[in-house]
Symmetry: C2
Subunit: 197 residues, 2 copies
């Protein structure tokens, strides 16, 4: 079992992850973290040297959860087509704020991160790499199983799946209406069907 | 010709639009606006009562330019399919920072805006409404011309075009690589072809 210091550190990370995902890196102040955790400034500085350090740890945590969701969707489905459709459906969970509120941490970080704080952008790139890699592996598996046509390009399928779902998630959040994400998922299902051998 | 006060007001709006689109609403301070415009605080407050008011005027300006680009793409192409593909291609301009740097102002605002500043979210919704409406009209035109099949749903086409391009723009900006947007445009071209009668 983790000792008390580790538990406090974990609690700061978990509770800050929601703040950063909803309000962004610049939009979250140390005072917000103090308020939500109920831990005094001195207590927080015993575990982290700066807001930047908390933000990076919180983003790591949010991204790990996101990648684990996608990995779980792939691992719990048999055929490559079912796996691809299951990945699309994970985006519905982001809209329902199942785990961490505020939508997709990769999308949020990609939009906010610019040259002012490169480490955040780098983490978003790495998480996007993982997401693309999981989809690419699914396509390779589908080709090995002769379920998908041999010419199907895993990088292209990953790009189309991710861009369509991330863009539709943005539309669904903007209008507070799940229909955009459902249309995207249906469109992708028809697209995946064209890849069958 | 506009008198000097109007010119100053316009200059504040134009130069702030780039700041807000790159750094976001929260990430842009009044001191940044003073620095980029070279106008003293007192001079800025002669035209605007707050940063909020500048942000809303700057967003109006950025969104008007964006909608005008899409309208121009539609109006300068003959067939509905050419018009739809031309709309996809306008997203390449957002990546190249042709007019206002920082990508798509609708996407950026949709991701940043939350309950803390509803007026920004409302403007992003209105711009998204305009974008969807232009695409919907193109589909209706294509059906009237018997170029597109009669069952094609304009709302669905608008959702797929916008979500795929906005998501791919995010990926291309994240990796500083245009390939994601090109893959999205190619994918959409193949999708639009399936709508032909």
């Amino acid at each position: 079992m983790a000792h008390k210091g580790e538990q406090t550190r974990e609690r700061i990370i978990h509770q800050s992850a929601a703040l950063f995902n909803v309000h962004g890196y610049i939009g979250t102040a140390m005072s917000d973290i103090i308020e939500v955790t109920g831990i005094q400034k001195g207590g927080i500085y015993r575990h982290f040297s700066s807001k930047e350090e908390i933000a990076l740890a919180a983003l790591d945590y949010a991204l790990e959860i996101r990648i684990a969701e996608v990995r779980y969707a792939v691992e719990t489905h048999g055929s490559a087509l079912d796996q691809l459709n299951a990945v699309s459906h994970t985006f519905l969970g982001l809209l329902k704020n199942n785990v961490i509120p505020g939508g997709c941490p990769i999308l949020n970080t990609a939009i906010e991160a610019d040259d002012t704080f490169q480490p955040l952008k780098k983490k978003a790139q790495e998480a996007m790499d993982s997401l693309r890699s999981l989809i690419h592996q699914t396509v390779t598996y589908g080709k090995d199983q002769r379920e998908l046509q041999p010419y199907v390009n895993g990088d292209v399928v990953a790009t189309i799946l991710i861009s369509t779902c991330e863009g539709a998630l943005m539309m669904s959040k903007l209008y507070d209406d799940v229909i955009y994400l459902h249309r995207a998922i249906d469109h992708l299902e028809a697209y995946f069907d064209t890849l069958k051998s």
